[in-house]
Symmetry: C2
Subunit: 331 residues, 2 copies
């Protein structure tokens, strides 16, 4: 900037005024400054600006478990678009679903003085350490799963309601023994909520809950195994509800391997090729882009001074009927 100023024969301050459209500047000076800017290829140093002005970086930090996962990727995309429209930049990090990486990323973001923090908490995380930042007024929003040990904004899918709808859909097609294939229990919030939805639907239909119809596996292959175990029961389920996309894929693979095209299946969370499967997969679809956008709006409102108490926002799910969930129960 000093170089530009020297080139034109004015002070840095005047250049600053031109660039920020700030104080009054003579038209001719403005033009000469602009030209020098072009000529020298000058670009203002945002770091210095942020430091001088706010002591807050015009960026927001986002921690997600896995960028390659289209769900989280889409969430991040939703956040980025909304946030960029306000001139903010997105900084992201992969926590790989571990509490250590999550903490270390958060620490880095805080050290960078991000304007806000958005976190998809990893399973084992604990967020007490963020209390100080919260009271200091830093907007913090949790995505997909709520915070642990901290009262803060969160934006999550309507897991329980969605799961309930999916299972009710199976029951409506005559199934009375519906298996649940999901993640390992206790750990995840989403798994708990969806499991509750499963039980809600059974209860609403007056069906008994049978522990033996619940099997878990934390990756696709394990979920396939879980599905196999369910199919091998003496009194096997005639329909399955898969609690997440890996479980869905596992169930699809298992049913395909076992050549059991008669078992109905509804999965939670949509899959790209769902309609190409045989039968096409019926799912309870989430809306990750909307989740990201909603969270971003919440953050922006907070940045604009919204000081209302922390709230949990539910993002609705949508039952996408394609075929696998409408297979009738055998008579």
């Amino acid at each position: 900037m000093t170089d530009v100023a020297r080139e034109v024969g004015v002070t840095a301050k005047t250049v600053s005024r031109v660039l920020n459209g700030d104080g009054p500047v003579a038209v001719e000076t403005r033009e000469r400054v602009m030209e020098a800017v072009r000529k020298l290829g000058y670009q203002p140093n945002l770091m210095a600006r942020n430091m001088r002005v706010g002591a807050r970086d015009a960026a927001i930090g986002l921690v997600i478990p896995e960028m390659g996962n289209p769900f989280f990727g889409t969430v991040a995309g939703g956040v980025e678009s909304a946030v960029r429209a306000r001139g903010l930049t997105l900084i992201v990090g992969n926590s790989s679903e571990t509490a250590e990486l999550e903490q270390s990323l958060i620490a880095t973001f805080l050290a960078r003085r991000v304007s806000a923090l958005m976190v998809v908490p990893s399973a084992a995380g604990d967020h007490r350490h963020l209390r100080g930042e919260r009271v200091a007024g830093l907007p913090i929003v949790f995505l997909d799963r709520p915070a642990v040990g901290l009262t803060a904004d969160s934006v999550v899918s309507a897991n329980r309601e969605g799961a309930r709808e999916g299972v009710a859909h199976l029951i409506a097609h005559g199934h009375r023994r519906v298996g649940f294939v999901g993640d390992v229990p206790a750990a995840l919030y989403t798994r708990r909520e969806r499991f509750q939805g499963y039980r809600d639907a059974l209860e609403a239909a007056g069906l008994p809950f049978d522990r033996s119809l619940v099997e878990t596996g934390h990756d696709q292959e394990a979920a396939a195994g879980a599905t196999m175990r369910l199919l091998a029961l003496d009194d096997p389920p005639t329909a399955l509800f898969a609690g997440n996309n890996l479980a869905s894929m596992g169930a699809v693979v298992a049913l395909s391997r076992a050549r059991r095209k008669d078992v109905a299946l509804v999965g939670f969370d949509d899959l790209p090729l769902a309609e190409c499967l045989d039968p096409p997969l019926t799912v309870v679809a989430q809306d990750p882009a909307r989740m990201g956008a909603t969270a971003a709006e919440l953050v922006l409102a907070r940045l604009d001074g919204d000081r209302s108490r922390a709230r949990r926002t539910l993002v609705p799910t949508r039952l996408v009927v394609r075929g696998s969930g409408e297979l009738p129960a055998p008579r």
Copy 2:
């Protein structure tokens, strides 16, 4: 930092020394500083540090077309891991495949004084404007597609070789009429290369190139339509090669709708559920994580002072045999 210094009764400089393990500090002083840091919950301001030290931000900027796309998401993940291991932070932006957004994101990153730039160029992009930065020594690496109008490092899939292998695989199973379903021509580098690979394979096998066997569509539905047109030819192909994952999905949908389980298919780029399809989809798989990691390594080498000339690195593809590509040609 000043606060911590005051609390302990030393200068900011001493605190700085403790925190950076820099000059010699008395053990007792160190402990008192550390305690004050904990007590006050002090966190060093990375912005200020970056500004003072380097005038370069300890971050690298990454522009990708679409974060929700698992391919680019995984690339970004690969970059992030590699880069974080070196204490650098990842800043990302969605270009939505438009040249304007791409440019504006790049400008923002430059203004932030990122240490390096990584770009997945959008179709219509032109990168002449980055020449100045290149000669100024800023590491710039292009991913998945090379730069336009600029000599710079790039890391791309072995598109031509991979496509050639995929098509040769079909030919090896007796097919003599192999259709190509891909993106709209000229635009994309990847499309051009893969198409070349397709022609290479035909030529190597002494098969004629038949223009009527090439159809395009830029989204899944259009690709399905393109497939339908190929199947409706008087002398239709007995095998198809799909030039990207959307084309693959379109082809799968079309074959499924037309109940044509006899048409062989090989797709470029893997799909999550590929093995659950009927028949399971044979693909030429790319390795996005490796692409990201490779690009990151290149950037780090450049940051370490590697001044060798710009190079194009090919990331090998892998033929994943699952069934759809091994259907024999009808006699």
